[in-house]
Symmetry: D2
Subunit: 194 residues, 4 copies
């Protein structure tokens, strides 16, 4: 099976502030996805995608998008099969940039299994994940229990952005990817002949 036959896993970098750590964590996770071998990683850096605050005149559930930036984001999300949200915790919730990117679309998220890679201090970003579980269920994504939760992230990501992966991080990334693969297979079995 060539790489392009693998299901596509969208990895969303859910922070955009100067000095953020999310892109380092996401790059680390992208490597774990390649090692795991069951998904083709597709990284969406919300800092580069640079959506404005939600500005569509019609409800996203109609899929009738007025803006090119929305259509581009819809095409990218729509081209993937599963999702991992890499999320910081700002005031015990997700960043605005991540909530905004979810709110822009609707049907493109539907029925996709979604996992979480969170990072933070004592709570390891899990309070942001808890709010995200409520949000993703609303656009009919299917939240996966297994998750990567990185506590004390400032000790894990070095000055140069290198990630000193712990055993717990490595183990939980495999559990997350296994569960995404299992659910994806159940929800969208490959057609006969594949």
């Amino acid at each position: 099976m060539s790489s392009s036959d693998l299901p596509r896993l969208l990895i969303v970098i859910g922070s955009s502030r100067p000095g953020r750590l999310g892109h380092h964590v996401a790059r680390w996770f992208e490597h774990r996805v390649r090692e795991h071998g069951q998904f083709e990683p597709v990284v969406a850096d919300l800092a580069e995608i640079a959506l404005p605050f939600f500005d569509e005149p019609r409800h996203p559930r109609l899929g009738d998008y007025a803006h090119q930036h929305t259509r581009d984001w819809a095409a990218l999300v729509g081209s993937t099969d599963a999702v991992v949200l890499v999320t910081p915790e700002y005031n015990h919730g997700p960043s605005a940039v991540l909530k905004n990117a979810i709110d822009f679309l609707h049907a493109e998220w539907r029925d996709k299994p979604v996992g979480f890679v969170s990072y933070g201090g004592v709570a390891a970003g899990t309070r942001a994940v808890q709010q995200l579980v409520q949000i993703v269920a609303t656009v009919r994504m299917i939240p996966v229990f297994d998750a990567v939760a990185i506590s004390g992230v400032r000790q894990v990501v070095g000055e140069g952005g290198e990630v000193a992966s712990t055993q717990s991080m490595d183990r939980s990334s495999i559990a997350l990817l296994d569960e995404l693969a299992r659910l994806l297979q159940q929800l969208h079995p490959a057609p006969a002949g594949n």
Copy 2:
């Protein structure tokens, strides 16, 4: 197809206080399930089941239950294919009796699609549902977006317990059951020959 071939839908009455409305709402929903025709309803009245506060010495994820009341509850939940939680809202969360009944088990809930029938005042019980979405995801149930949310429940349930169903209640109960059936079919397709 005889009734007994239908997938079994567990309807949990999530309140037990004297004067509760939940059993009236649940009976109304049970009728909707029979009309819908794709599930065999199985009603679990937590007031009758009468579990104590969680008292298992080992974590439910081990499935190694010390008490007969736990094994009975596990057998009942385990015999069903999908779940609907009928929930009031106590201080913006689910009742203790409902949270407790979920906490008692683990693998028995796994991979079951779960929907919500909530009732209350201005928020229609939806704040309890929001906490339940986080809880059911933890035991690997799959929350369904479509839901029945009954606002102003004291106008809907009469003195004798009869439910004056609104058009919105009827429509949303069909949407909920359709979505449960769709997800169940995807997650657990009937074996060939059925």
Copy 3:
């Protein structure tokens, strides 16, 4: 007592999308504040304030803001005594524009009583309020229980933006303002001589 001696109540319009209803709801609430007579309303329209996505290099808790837009927002919030967040519900949470405006600051929010005016469909925007309660507690605001929750908002706000206030809306706006005034008086008693 002249108007300028009243405590200042910041009313935040928590939506900015084209076609939004929030500014109509906020203007209705501003009138209720004037009728109530115990606060000087100060309306902050996040569409006009037009903050970018959070872009401060240092944590807001340090108060060491790099950008003029942050210092302006800090000055406005810092000049007020209590807060009301007027919030829609996007995918069961607050809008990104509102979360972002909260995340930009820290000490400016501290010890301010905060109330909620939410609007939506069956849940009346209360699910967004539930996430906001968690968020405002993090910046040490003091959430007020009494709230205005507008269900079926499309029937309440007319084509021209006029608000057909219900008795429940009027009553709950008074309860919210009474409770804000009570808590503010307890937390920050007026100095002797006032």
Copy 4:
């Protein structure tokens, strides 16, 4: 000032299962309260108090309690000035026994500052705290930001129940108690002459 002149801090042990750790954590925190010296600790062990599942026929907001167990619990809570909830995390929420004990009462909780001592695994019990923040706000308690969050609790509490306190636990317990004392003083200043 004799001990009995200090404000009374209710410490609720929010778990009752066999093998629980909560009473060990609570006893450790009780010692921190005595060292801190600004509160008289009053420990409420929900395993001993042994409330049934909520069984009052009338809404607690009426304060018209039918059962002696409710009146006893009301008298105990009503005799205290501030609250700390010691909470485990069961399926990302509080235990049923803790939610139930809160639901039983109403006015007795009002205007009391409340802090949290949570314990768990990677999330240190903070997901339960997040649900509790929503719940306590409903009965008009005032949640305090500063909190004790114990991750990896099985390494912290020894076989014999002794707690190997970390520097972070000690520091955060002081911050929590300082903030409770500050808020209590603002909300309920001691009468002149005290």
